[in-house]
């Protein structure tokens, strides 16, 4: 069965420090992986994706993520956090078998302190 785990409910980081939001997945075969951000009373916004190729992918607002096949992980990172990065972050996996359905993790709330 396809699943996504975001082990941390909340991540706290000081502004200017690097941040990491963790994601691990379980899927048959090769996955497509995505990160989305959700601000209060707003819809989900796409940040970045891994489809194939370079394991390090760069996305919007200075975010990047590294695909690690052996560890089945796709952690979201940013070298220097901003207060405005405070939001709810979701990791998603799309399996390439069984209908290509896209499953989301439970989310991680990022709090950046000034």
């Amino acid at each position: 069965a396809q699943s996504v785990a975001q082990p941390e409910d909340q991540v706290n980081v000081a502004e200017g420090n690097p941040l990491t939001v963790k994601c691990t997945y379980s899927v048959s075969g090769n996955p497509y992986l995505f990160w989305y951000v959700q601000y209060p009373n707003r819809g989900l916004q796409f940040l970045l994706k891994y489809i194939t190729g370079d394991n390090l992918v760069k996305g919007s607002y200075g975010f990047e993520a590294e695909f690690n096949k052996s560890q089945t992980s796709f952690h979201l990172k940013k070298p220097s956090a901003l207060v405005s990065d405070s939001a709810l972050y979701f990791c998603a996996v799309r399996g390439l078998t069984g209908g290509f359905k896209t499953i989301f993790g439970a989310g991680t709330r990022l709090f950046v302190k000034a």
Binding site: Y32, L44, R94, G99, I103, F104
Partner: protein, 113 residues
């Protein structure tokens, strides 16, 4: 490019009543998803369409929920009868191809009282 349109934005109904949500996808997007997002949780996939065919509805409570996608474009999600635990935001998302990201609508916030 216009985004995914959903209506209504908000709906309050009493339990055992029926309700319908509507989604208009981005033009040319073949895949359409309906998700249920309960407060504080991640989106839960209810049903996935590829054009006007159902690809996956394994998480759809079929005794009360139904969905259709008209001519492979607009989609409606219906709940009949509603229960208190159906209170959630219902999100529609679409993507152009299977290797592209999904775009989400603003969602419909349903409150069942």
């Amino acid at each position: 490019e216009a985004g995914v349109a959903q209506s209504p934005r908000y709906k309050i109904i009493e339990k055992r009543q029926s309700v319908a949500f509507w989604c208009n996808p981005i033009s040319g997007h073949a895949t359409l998803y309906w998700y249920q997002q309960i407060l504080g949780q991640g989106p839960k996939l209810l049903i996935q369409f590829q054009n006007n065919g159902v690809v996956d509805d394994s998480q759809l409570p079929k005794d009360r929920f139904s969905a259709e996608r008209l001519k492979g474009v607009d989609s409606t999600l219906k709940i009949q009868p509603a229960k208190l635990e159906d209170s959630a935001v219902y999100l529609c998302a679409t993507c152009r191809r299977l290797n592209t990201e999904a775009f989400f609508g603003q969602g419909t916030r349903l409150t069942v009282v």
